[in-house]
Amino acid sequence: MRSCLVVDDSKVIRKVARHILETLQFAVDEAEDGREALSRCEAKMPDVVLLDWNMPVMGGMEFLRTLRAREFPSQPKVVFCTTENDAAHIRAAIDAGADEYVMKPFDRETLESKLQIVGVA
């Protein structure tokens, strides 16, 4: 079973994402911010990270840059999932090492297709 770490400070978004991901047969873990997400990755690297942009403590971009700079045995796919929905933010995320980008709001079809595109679904 593939694993996904959902990183978002909104409990509602984590719940919605978890529901969709579980119907897609993913094992889901959650983190409320980037720092907690890094701890989760150190403990057990997921196949894919679903990542919010704006979060307290450590935001999505700082988490992504830190993750990509660290020499983990393996790197997960990272799919940004955010309300920062303009082309400039999308390009910045891709340049920083994100593999895909989901603009909120989204639905099951959107998320499933993004996971297929990065090769984890």
Binding site: V102, F106, S113
Partner: protein, 282 residues
């Protein structure tokens, strides 16, 4: 405000008469939700139905029919099937058409155009491969409204990312005011859109190598499905590939098409499928 059986039957009959599509009275929630703005304007369902029956104001019946059509679609819908179509099936057609260097593609029941544009984008991304080829992509739908939208190639933020990878989105779409995304003219001009019912004859040139008819046949009764399959078969070249929706099949519906043994999930003209099966077995 509740929709009565009688009103639901009248609206379903109107839809079937205009498009051939059936809407079960049991799915009245679909009728009610699709027609909410019309019901609000007329004050009640019964008044709306009476106005539709007399088509006053003129064009109301057309507008109601358009609202009742299910226009759900997205880019590369059912991606594994698109991978088959644009991978091995297209490579086979490329070999077969190497002499004429011409491919004709029909997206029948195209809704707002995402699947037709999915194919067009792929060709646009493989320019060196298709250098010297003529690729005609025709997309049709019974709804004038969705064809007008499709021609514009303008999608909401929600629509543009459904099925489309961010790389393709940034390459082929420009961000516009109001969270809209505009498809590049280079791709938009590759598709010719026409208002046309599946029950009518195929659009010219009526000789297609790839036909998509996805998630439409499920709305037709068995007799009309047979008619549509006959229309599709008549419009297909002997080596044509047919792509249906994920929940649709030719099995038990028509003898004109058979499962493509090399690309399961796609279909070939029945006469073409047998030699492929023999070749695959030998």
């Amino acid at each position: 405000m509740e929709l009565s059986d009688a009103s639901a039957r009248i609206l379903a009959a109107l839809l079937e008469a205009r498009t051939g599509q059936r809407l079960a009275v049991s799915r009245r929630w679909r009728i009610e939700s699709a027609l909410q703005p019309f019901i609000r304007d007329h004050g009640s369902v019964d008044r709306l139905v009476a106005a539709v029956a007399s088509d006053r104001p003129a064009g109301l019946a057309d507008a109601v029919v358009e609202a009742l059509l299910n226009n759900e679609t997205f880019f590369y819908r059912d991606r594994p099937a698109f991978d088959l179509l644009l991978g091995p099936a297209l490579s086979r057609l490329e070999r077969l058409r190497a002499g004429t260097k011409r491919l004709r593609i029909w997206c029948a029941g195209c809704s707002t155009g995402q699947e037709a544009y999915s194919i067009a984008m792929r060709f646009a991304e493989q320019k060196p491969r298709w250098q010297g080829w003529t690729v005609d992509i025709v997309a049709t739908d019974v709804s004038r409204g969705v064809i007008e939208r499709a021609r514009q190639g303008r999608y909401t933020q929600f629509e543009v990312q459904r099925g489309l990878g961010v790389g393709q989105m940034l390459r082929w779409f420009d961000e516009k005011e109001g969270q809209a995304w505009q498809l590049a003219d280079e791709v938009r001009r590759m598709v010719r859109f026409e208002v046309r019912s599946l029950l009518d004859l195929a659009p010219p040139p009526a000789s297609f190598d790839i036909i998509l008819c996805r998630n439409v046949l499920l709305y037709f009764c068995a007799d009309r499905r047979r008619t549509v399959f006959a229309r599709l078969a008549a419009a297909a070249t002997p080596e044509a590939v047919l792509m249906l929706g994920a929940g649709e099949t030719v099995i038990g519906q028509t003898d004109a098409f058979a499962v493509d043994p090399e690309c399961r999930g796609l279909y070939l003209r029945a006469a073409a499928a047998a030699p492929v099966r023999l070749a695959a077995a030998s």
